[in-house]
């Protein structure tokens, strides 16, 4: 136990606390800017079982903030790469890898197997999904989100406390990611570390858990404040009664004249509406290319413009399409609003 000696010395931990940590099961949804530092501190503290969930691959633009990953991890599954790195950090910990997205179908079942959920996601759909599944499974979850130099932090559904829907009852289409806005690596580092601290307090039953409060941090302004949240019973009851209320973020395209081809996976949001929008994920292009019109301009898009560029190469070289145009800036540049 000498590896945990420095924390066992604390009155809030002690030997009993270390046993609690060893018996604890924590699910990290999204192993990115928030999830990486959180996972490192939770593994370091000796949390017994950590679930690592992410369906994404490591990109070179992740490395400045997603501190678990090495240059040699680029192109690899985040969940798998994170597990391999963390196992070297603490071989006492049992890691479970979920190389898949959290969905309406799997959420409750997976969350049921853990004591606490740590939200490292970058979109509203999954935040509402975690929220609803945690209400149904009766588990607390530690929320954090970032916009440029600012962060929000809270613990939801803790001992029957307020939930995410008590703060933000209505979802918004404005799913603005760190990729789109830019972020300094330290900000998710700070927020993810604070999330890990909340998880440790919950597991240890020590101190004051940030439940019923929303902490707002502005890293650039070196300012923070805490807002008190009240429970919206009707929002929680709705979920208890009717189950998970999935948030689908749809939107309109500015241009309704031309054909558009969405090469993103089916779960990626927002989803543009319209008769001239085709959705064919990258993996299905070779089996479904005949659905794409070849006699008029078709604008191909994904989240950022990178995958759509590859898609056009494939469709051009393998199937002779010459009418495809790439949407350089990704979906955010072509939607209305």
């Amino acid at each position: 136990m000498s590896r945990y000696d420095r924390q066992i010395k604390l009155q809030e931990v002690g030997l009993d606390g270390q046993v609690k940590l060893r018996n604890a099961k924590v699910l990290i949804v999204g192993v990115g800017g928030l999830g990486c530092p959180a996972a490192m501190y939770l593994a370091g503290a000796g949390v017994g079982k950590i679930g690592l969930m992410d369906h994404d691959m490591v990109d070179v633009s992740n490395l400045h903030r997603q501190v678990l990953f090495l240059e040699s991890d680029v192109g690899r599954s985040k969940a798998v790469a994170a597990k391999q790195r963390l196992e070297k950090q603490n071989s006492d910990v049992q890691f479970s890898v979920y190389d898949e997205p959290l969905t309406v179908d799997n959420a409750e079942n997976i969350i049921q197997q853990y004591d606490v959920v740590l939200d490292g996601t970058d979109n509203f759909e999954t935040k509402y999904l975690i929220n609803d599944a945690c209400i149904l499974a009766n588990k607390p979850w530690v929320f954090a989100s970032i916009y440029k130099n600012e962060g929000q932090l809270s613990v939801f559904n803790y001992k029957n406390g307020p939930t995410y829907r008590c703060v933000f009852p209505k979802s918004t289409r404005q799913n603005i990611s760190c990729e789109a806005t830019g972020v300094l690596g330290v900000l998710p580092g700070i927020l993810g570390t604070l999330q890990a601290a909340e998880v440790l307090k919950i597991v240890l039953g020590a101190g004051e858990v940030l439940s019923g409060k929303l902490k707002l941090i502005n890293m650039m302004q070196a300012s923070e404040q805490t807002i008190k949240i009240n429970k919206r019973h009707e929002e929680i009851e709705k979920i208890r009664k009717h189950g998970i209320a999935p948030v689908y973020i749809d939107c309109d395209l500015k241009d309704k004249e031309h054909w558009y081809l969405d090469v993103r996976e089916v779960y990626e949001q927002p989803k543009p509406k319209g008769k001239k929008v085709l959705s064919i994920p990258m993996g299905d292009l070779t089996s479904r290319y005949q659905e794409i019109p070849n006699n008029q301009d078709v604008f191909v898009f994904c989240q950022s413009g990178k995958r759509s560029k590859n898609a056009i190469e494939i469709l051009k070289n393998e199937f002779g399409f010459h009418n495809l145009k790439n949407v350089e800036g990704g979906i955010e540049t072509i939607i209305d609003g």
């Binding site: 999830g35 996601t121 990611s177 760190c178």
Partner: protein, 78 residues
């Protein structure tokens, strides 16, 4: 009467400031002040912005002199 308004996230960006002091004429609820503030700003989804008065999430309360109001949009990044 005057109230201090604090802006966060894309609301602060649209307002081009983090804080300002507003002179109000007559009684306003927090929700009415929110509508008044956001109408002059270019924000796509005004409904998602929440309002806190003196560090309490509440849009029904009637504002009084010296109140501190915060306009809070949801953040998605991670």
């Amino acid at each position: 009467m005057t109230v201090t308004i604090k802006y966060f996230g894309l609301v602060a960006e649209a307002a081009e400031k983090f804080e300002e002091i507003l002179e109000l004429n007559g009684a306003l609820t927090a929700s009415e002040l929110k509508t008044q503030c956001l109408n002059s700003l270019n924000i796509a989804d005004k409904d998602s912005v929440q309002i806190a008065v003196n560090q309490n999430l509440d849009d029904k309360i009637t504002l009084k002199d010296g109140d501190e109001v915060a306009l809070l949009p949801p953040f998605a990044g991670g």
